[in-house]
């Protein structure tokens, strides 16, 4: 008999807020600079320096809290978390302990069984530490170097409740969280550049058992896929252990991408004692009702709401709404276009088809192309009024994508206007009919199939500019006359 296990996962996500300057000083937060280029006496913790709070970071944290339905501690403060590490210049990290800026929130994810709310325990603000670079390998180098560019960069830590039940849910949660933060524009959520970091707590318990299993912490997962893989591995590892009658020990494990395994980082030590106490160099943060209200009023529409509205207002299939709202820049382009052109499904088709194809080829994001809501709408109108064929429209679109030129200008410049002039077409058609006497006879004898061949000849002659429906009609008329 095999036991069924219930999986319990909680995630701690560190997000770098994309402010221009650091949390407590004016240094730039720009990624990829020379080591220690973005530092000053304050973020290096030089003796005698003092932190001064970056209001923008508080604003961003507040937005994150409100977008995830967190309640706000209107009187919150910073605390010192004391510990020694060479990349921690002051010997303490300025963080928030008992009064985080936000608490008791939720993020809605989509599961196979529908929507599910994942609780958020808290969201708090803190400063990042620097980075150690080991000369050679950790094992045999005789020294390490410290880069403090990241030291003092503003982070929010988002701690979920242990509400996640599968690795797939964990990934869905991260996707949803990332999407919200991108919508808010407060973080790049880039795991490779370290602007989003995630640690997981995993335990399992036999179904029906009340007390939680022993919790294992998993660190160093550097992509969403890695999170899912690491959690799946860890769950299996724990199941096997329980089935073998082994005892799971409380420990911290590290995800190794190359071997696709979690490996032991450190076992259960004595409980950390961070000796938290209120940061005496900063005044408490007071967040007024007014500030909260302004934040709420200025929150953008969030991904789920937008998706539902797209289905409702534009009568789009769920799939379309999902794809379009996946990226708010794409969603914005859609709405801009629909504002100038009244067939939403047609716009959706173009964006999901040609547009995403070109974006993928170029590896860029929607706002980096030259397509605007205005010129896409103009293009679609040119198709509707017969100026160009939809086939030609694809070439025009590509040109618009690359150059940003107006569709009318491209059509004009390249002489792509569809030939709808009947006299001109009749002349061309008669020339073709003359050259294809046998085909004419075949049609006259009642076989309609070669009409298509003749249309093809007309398109070839006009290099695609003839209006195919019109050509079809005129061919029949001219054949009948003979």
């Amino acid at each position: 008999m095999t036991t069924n296990y219930e999986i319990i996962i909680g995630l701690e996500v560190h997000l770098q807020l994309n402010t221009e300057s650091k949390l407590f000083c004016g240094c730039s937060t720009k990624f990829g600079e020379e080591p220690n280029a973005n530092t000053c006496p304050v973020c290096l913790g030089m003796p005698g320096t003092l932190p001064v709070i970056n209001e923008r970071a508080v604003e961003y944290a507040l937005m994150a809290c409100r977008a995830t339905d967190c309640k706000i501690n209107q009187y919150n403060k910073f605390d010192r978390k004391n510990y020694y590490y060479p990349d921690l210049p002051k010997g303490y990290q300025i963080s928030q302990f008992d009064l985080p800026i936000g608490f008791d929130g939720a993020v809605t994810i989509e599961t196979e069984d529908g929507y599910k709310d994942i609780g958020l325990t808290r969201i708090h603000l803190e400063e990042d530490a620097g980075k150690l670079i080991h000369a050679g390998s950790v094992a045999d180098s005789d020294h390490s170097l410290v880069d403090f560019n990241r030291g003092g960069v503003p982070l929010i830590e988002i701690v979920s409740e242990p509400d996640l039940r599968t690795p797939a849910e964990a990934k869905a949660y991260l996707d949803a969280l990332k999407q919200i933060m991108l919508y808010l524009g407060i973080s790049d959520c880039n795991m490779e550049e370290g602007s989003l970091r995630c640690d997981a707590n995993v335990s399992i318990r036999p179904e029906g058992q009340e007390e939680f299993g022993v919790k294992v912490e998993v660190k160093n997962m550097n992509s969403f896929k890695a999170v899912e893989n690491a959690l799946s591995y860890e769950v299996e590892r724990q199941k096997k252990m329980l089935e073998n009658g082994d005892v799971i020990s409380q420990e911290t494990r590290s995800w190794d991408d190359t071997s696709n395994k979690t490996v032991l980082m450190r076992g259960k030590e004595e409980a950390d004692d961070y000796r938290y106490f209120p940061e005496p160099d900063l005044m408490p943060l007071e967040i007024s009702d007014q500030w909260i209200k302004e934040t709420d009023d200025n929150l953008p529409e969030l991904p789920l709401a937008k998706k539902e509205r797209f289905i409702e207002d534009y009568e789009l299939p769920e799939y379309d709404a999902e794809v379009l709202t996946d990226d708010f820049k794409l969603a914005n382009l859609f709405e801009e276009t629909v504002g100038n052109y009244s067939n939403p499904k047609e716009v959706s088709n173009w964006l999901m088809g040609e547009f995403l194809k070109l974006l993928n080829e170029e590896g860029i994001s929607p706002d980096e192309s030259n397509i605007t809501g205005n010129n896409l709408a103009s293009l679609l109108k040119l198709i509707d009024d017969g100026t160009i064929s939809s086939k030609i429209a694809k070439d025009v679109f590509e040109e618009m994508f690359n150059t940003g030129k107006e569709p009318e200008a491209i059509v004009e410049e390249k002489g792509l206007t569809q030939i709808s002039d009947e006299d001109k077409l009749v002349e061309i058609i008669n020339n073709i009919l003359d050259e294809n006497q046998d085909v004419v006879e075949e049609i006259q004898s009642g076989n309609e199939r070669p009409v298509g061949f003749l249309v093809g000849q007309v398109m070839k002659e006009t290099r695609g500019k003839a209006n195919p429906q019109l050509a079809n009609k005129l061919i029949r008329e001219e054949v009948a006359k003979r």
Binding site: G48, Y84, P86, P89, G91, R275
Partner: protein
């Protein structure tokens, strides 16, 4: 009168009248330093000749040398906090108070000796040397701003900056026959002051008289964008209208304070001061304050707790002394163990203990609660009186080399600590001398941001006490 005997205002006046040039002033003081510093040992680093001095063309203090305690960031001299751990370390930036002095034209004369990281009350805890009290070289100038007090008392500079966490400006001022002002917490920027206990530290001047203290405060006070705990309040001209009659002030004598274990001469001088106030029409009433040792008890929890965290940055990674060439743990341990003196270690241990899991509620958090209660009680008293009057210290200056129990030494802060706990401004001014000829100080404490009136009251008390207090040595 020799240049070195002149106080700040006399120097400014002489220069305005064309009797002295900025160059003559700085030369006069450098000569004085070269003559007496070997005895006083007040400086850990200083200007030795005027060619090193940058004399500005503008500012009230142009050409006037001001000494700065060794825990304030300066570009001209190292900032070592008189600790071996930071020996020779120069900060890459300048603190706000120092910057303001320079903007006022002052020449930074040097960095003064102190108890290591401002922990102590004698300068005997300095990592480098012990300073001497110019009134009697066998005695100590007090601490932790002892070097600053010694160099002003000896006429090596007319004024100096000190920092006061539990009395470190006022106690050495009292021991050295000077005026020492601890402004309201937040009125002078702490940016550039190497923190001992952030919520208690405050920079202030040591001067020869009250008016010079007012002059210095005019330069130092103000909101600083670099210090978010600095207060955004209007600072009046503290020198204007400083001459007021003592009869306009109401003083409170805390019940039981003069019955504490006091040196008889200290008790006598403070009682005399109170008598003189009454004779001159000032009002003196008894007020009820929390027991003096209560503030002291919580001070010795809060200050070490903050210190244990503030001093964590001295780990040998980025600056200062680095010892040990093995692993990182060994480096931390060796650097800190050999770099810090025993008093600093004692307080780091106390603070770490007070903050550690299991003790935090019982010690640190309780101390914060009591702190709030004490603040409230002081607030209530300031509804009744303008100022509280107390001795500055229980005794005159300590003798050098005397064995003193650390706990007993902590008791010397009993009258000065409450002003730091409550954030109130407080001033110590000379009240006369002991039978041995050592100075005795009297302290006035005011309510938050009452410096204008506090300086008026101190000035009027200085006038009626009229103590002859010449430069020593």
């Amino acid at each position: 009168m020799e240049i070195y005997e002149m106080n700040l205002r006399q120097l400014i006046e002489a220069r305005e009248k064309g009797e002295l040039t900025s160059e003559e002033i700085i030369d006069g003081f450098i000569d004085r330093m070269n003559n007496v510093e070997a005895d006083v040992k007040g400086f850990v680093s200083r200007l030795e000749n005027s060619s090193g001095a940058e004399i500005k063309e503008i500012g009230d203090l142009r050409g006037i040398p001001i000494a700065v305690k060794d825990n304030m960031a300066t570009l001209d001299f190292p900032t070592s906090c008189s600790s071996k751990l930071l020996e020779g370390y120069t900060t890459p930036y300048e603190g706000t108070a120092v910057k303001k002095l320079k903007e006022a034209g002052a020449v930074i004369a040097g960095k003064t000796n102190m108890d290591e990281f401002a922990m102590g009350s004698s300068t005997e805890n300095s990592g480098f040397m012990t300073s001497r009290n110019p009134w009697n070289l066998d005695h100590l100038p007090g601490g932790s701003s002892g070097g600053s007090a010694a160099v002003v008392a000896a006429g090596e500079v007319p004024a100096a900056l000190g920092s006061d966490t539990g009395g470190s400006i006022r106690q050495p001022a009292a021991f050295s026959g000077l005026v020492g002002l601890k402004p309201t917490y937040g009125s002078v920027s702490r940016y550039g002051l190497v923190a001992f206990a952030s919520s208690l530290d405050q920079i202030g001047p040591l001067t020869r008289n009250v008016k010079d203290a007012a002059l210095m405060l005019n330069i130092l006070a103000g909101k600083d964008q670099m210090d978010s705990t600095s207060a955004d309040v209007e600072h009046p001209d503290y020198l204007a209208e400083i001459e007021q009659d003592i009869s306009g002030f109401r003083f409170g004598v805390p019940k039981g304070y003069l019955e504490l274990e006091l040196h008889p001469d200290v008790k006598a001088r403070v009682e005399e001061a109170i008598e003189r106030i009454k004779e001159n029409g000032g009002e003196v009433v008894e007020v009820e304050l929390p027991p003096a040792d209560q503030a002291l008890a919580i001070y010795y929890i809060i200050a070490p707790a903050e210190a244990s965290s503030n001093l964590a940055r001295f780990d040998g990674v980025r600056y200062g002394q680095r010892l040990g060439d093995g692993d990182i743990e060994e480096m931390y341990q060796k650097t800190r163990n050999e770099g810090f003196g025993s008093e600093v270690k004692r307080r780091i241990m106390l603070g770490t203990y007070a903050l550690s899991a299991g003790y935090q509620d019982e010690l640190y958090k309780k101390a914060l609660k009591v702190r709030t209660l004490i603040r409230d009680q002081y607030k209530a008293v300031f509804e009744e009186v303008d100022f509280i009057i107390t001795p500055t210290c229980p005794t005159p200056a300590f003798k050098m080399g005397e064995e003193r129990d650390p706990l007993e030494t902590y008791l010397t802060d009993i009258f000065t600590v409450p002003a730091n706990i409550t954030g109130s401004p407080a001033i110590s001014l000379p009240a006369g001398f002991s039978e041995d000829g050592l100075p005795v100080g009297v302290q006035l404490i005011g309510s938050a941001f009452s410096e204008k009136r506090l300086l008026q009251a101190a000035n009027s008390l200085e006038n009626i006490l009229d103590i002859d207090n010449p430069v020593q040595l």
